[in-house]
């Protein structure tokens, strides 16, 4: 039986916007596809063998947790970087997505160094970018939509050559200007979208499971799952994101 090791980074500290939903989606769908899995919580200061990790999940954190997390992660920088180059999958949301980049400049000008795994940087913006968001994502051909909710003060900019996760159709995305959302580097995916993102975008969940299996030369043999509830949730979320009521709300935010 195919098996993957899912490492959950600092579950007690990075769990801001329904991050539990993403972990739950990975576990449930692995189970439904007949993939054996283990979820390993990684605690600050604890021993971590990234060579054993197939899929690393990194959630969002409050400002007060973010700095502690950044300091702790920097001690693991070279291990993580090595694993990423070898093909480890990372799915990082919001605060963790920012941490994967080169630096984050806070609103009072303080520059917090990142992990420099992905070629991007983030600067605090004057107002929070909040609201439902829909993106067109080219991980698939033809592209598929992803729908979620974003809530971030940081504006993220991708350096030349780095691919975004998708093109913004509704919402703000990385910075509210260039219509990009998230970033993809090798098997690393970073995004501002939560909601939780994975449960109502099940193709992304399966994409991550597939990448994690391929990394260890295991074949993904997807089961025929009835995703009609997920599809309905996806479609209705897109309808709501495009509604006049929603547009009024996000301009208020």
């Amino acid at each position: 039986m195919a098996k993957i090791n899912i490492y959950h980074l600092y579950p007690a500290h990075l769990n801001l916007y329904g991050d539990r939903g993403n972990i739950l989606a990975l576990c449930r769908r692995a189970d439904w596809h007949g993939i054996d899995f283990e979820v390993v919580p990684v605690e600050p200061g604890g021993e971590v063998d990234f060579a054993r990790c197939d899929l690393l999940y990194m959630g969002g954190g409050q400002d007060s947790d973010q700095k502690m997390v950044a300091d702790d992660l920097k001690t693991r920088q070279s291990d993580m970087s090595r694993a990423v180059e070898a093909g480890m999958t990372i799915f990082a949301v919001c605060g963790s997505y920012q941490l994967l980049g080169q630096y984050y400049t806070t609103s009072n000008g303080e520059k917090i160094g990142g992990l420099e795994i992905v070629d991007l940087y983030t600067e605090a913006g004057p107002k929070r970018l909040i609201g439902n968001a829909v993106i067109k994502c080219s991980l698939w051909n033809p592209p598929r939509t992803l729908v979620g909710f974003e809530n971030h003060a940081g504006k993220t900019y991708l350096r030349t050559g780095l691919k975004p996760l998708g093109e913004v159709q509704i919402g703000h995305g990385n910075n509210g200007n260039d219509k990009t959302e998230g970033a993809v580097y090798k098997n690393v995916i970073g995004t501002y979208l939560h909601g939780s993102l994975l449960p109502k975008n099940p193709w992304l969940t399966d994409y991550l499971l597939n990448k994690a299996l391929c990394y260890r030369n295991q074949a993904f043999q997807p089961a025929q799952l009835d995703d009609s509830l997920e599809q309905q949730a996806h479609d209705s979320a897109i309808r709501l994101a495009g509604s006049r009521r929603h547009k009024r709300l996000s301009s208020r935010a």
């Binding site: 539990r20 909710f149 809530n151 109502k200 509830l229 309905q232 949730a233």
Partner: protein, 468 residues
């Protein structure tokens, strides 16, 4: 200049009153729009009317328990013979407070009430405090709630502190001693600080407290530990690295005996005396609400015998385990709005003896919180673990499908989940599944609750909420 000011105030009150009457004709509560418009005309409306109060204002803020706590305080003050103006339906932004004042004011711009008891949203707290200058502020707890509006818990504390700075000298603050996050609440020497807490042996809950926002000491960031934990991060905490420890509360609940109907006989210790209270409301969270209210009126020197008398008559507040009955089927409506509150509601429901029919209605309008990701932090898995207790499950509201997916991933069979986006139709469908003699538990977000109550009022159940 003075006359112009007075005129604006009167026009604001008149417009507000007319709008309240109009909105009620259309079956709405008139707790939002009239206040908004009235404030546009007369921005000082709440502060001018608050000046007429013979005694003063009290404000209840915090994440959970505001509605019930302020209702309990109002009940006790009324028992003591005072007249109160109170925003009882939970409309707790600045316009909700203004609407309540407008409704209570006379057409000549007078207000004959003794006290104003206002529940106030944490974000609206600084503005409202600046206007109505409360004599006392009760802060119930701080949990994660509606992050789309306020960013994060850290910001909520900042907002509360800004509000407290606006409170007049010689006022008082009532705090939950069991909530470690309230350590950051600042107060000056001129303000009396009252605390309350539980001193009981309750079984710790088995819920996964993903809503436990405070993992570390708010003072030194060391690890926080507990001698006793009641739910989420509420309990007898102490820091492993510094001297921060739960303060000894002024008002404590020292004993609780549960009656067969779920009501409790409580022993409350106040400075220098003890009272016995028969309390009809269910759930641990209501014990905290009771203590908050008792502490607040104790700070006002209300006679203790009156306190017990008033609490005995407590009925569930607006949408807080409120009971409706139709064709020998009971409907219990309990508002859910954040993980900690929802977990406590689920815990209370699961302690029910019979089979449970469930209707969860999730909207994502502004008053509900536009981000529904909190649903994934609620421990709905508890329902899947108790599948044999579940007779039927219906989901509704603008985010019905999100909720359906949530239940699927919690471990329920998709075929078991009935989806009906329209909240009124959902009540009918869920009632069809409910057999006579059984209960239907309705768990709506705020605006879904307003919709459902309008529907229930229409079929003759319950009173419109502005008449209560």
């Amino acid at each position: 200049m003075r006359n112009l000011f007075k005129l604006k105030l009167l026009v604001g009150i008149w417009t507000g009153k007319i709008l309240i009457a109009l909105t009620r004709i259309f079956g709405r509560g008139g707790t939002t729009l009239p206040g908004r418009i009235a404030l546009k005309i007369a921005p000082q409306l709440s502060s001018s009317l608050a000046d007429h109060l013979s005694k003063g204002s009290l404000v209840v803020t915090g994440t959970n328990g505001k509605t019930t706590t302020s209702a309990l305080i109002t009940g006790i003050l009324k028992e003591a013979g005072y007249n109160c103006v109170h925003n009882q339906s939970g409309s707790n932004m600045s316009w909700g407070v203004a609407s309540a004042f407008v409704a209570a004011a006379s057409w000549k711009g007078n207000l004959f009430e003794d006290w104003a008891v206002m529940e106030v949203d944490e974000g609206a707290f600084p503005g409202v405090t600046r206007n109505i200058k409360p004599q006392g502020t009760v802060i119930t707890n701080i949990f994660r709630d509606q992050l789309d509006r306020y960013g994060e818990v850290d910001h909520v504390l900042g907002s509360i502190n800004r509000g407290l700075e606006m409170q007049p000298e010689n006022s008082f603050i009532v705090l939950n001693a069991d909530d470690p996050s309230l350590a950051g609440v600042k107060s000056s020497n001129t303000k009396k600080r009252w605390t309350y807490g539980l001193e009981l042996d309750l079984p710790a809950d088995t819920f996964e407290n993903t809503g436990r926002d405070l993992k570390v000491c708010p003072i030194c960031s060391g690890k926080l530990s507990y001698k006793k934990i009641f739910y989420a991060h509420l309990g007898h905490f102490y820091c492993l690295s510094c001297s921060y420890v739960r303060p000894e509360p002024d008002v404590k609940l020292i004993d609780s005996n549960t009656n067969p109907d779920g009501s409790t006989l409580l022993q409350v210790r106040l400075p220098g005396e003890e009272i016995e209270v028969y309390f009809p409301l269910l759930g641990t969270y209501n014990l905290y609400n009771l203590l908050a209210a008792v502490t607040c009126v104790k700070a006002l020197d209300i006679q203790t015998s009156l306190i017990a008398e008033a609490l005995k008559k407590s009925v569930p507040s607006f949408g807080r385990m409120e009971l409706f009955e139709l064709d020998n089927k009971a409907m219990v409506m309990a508002l859910i709005k954040n993980p900690v509150g929802a977990n406590e509601v689920l815990r209370t429901i699961l302690s029910e003896k019979g089979k449970i029919n469930l209707l969860v209605a999730i909207n994502d309008k502004y008053a509900d919180g536009t981000d529904v990701s909190w649903l994934w932090d609620v421990d709905f898995e508890q329902l899947a673990f108790n599948k044999d207790k579940l007779a039927s499950v219906t989901v509704s509201g603008l985010r019905a499908w999100d909720m359906a997916v949530r239940f699927k991933y919690a471990g329920l069979e998709p075929a078991q989940i009935q989806v009906e986006e329209n909240t009124a139709k959902a009540i009918n469908k869920a009632l069809e599944q409910t057999t006579a003699g059984n209960k239907l538990f309705i768990l709506p977000t705020y605006t879904a609750m307003l919709e459902m109550r309008r529907f229930l009022n229409k079929i003759g159940l319950g009173k419109p909420y502005w008449e209560e």
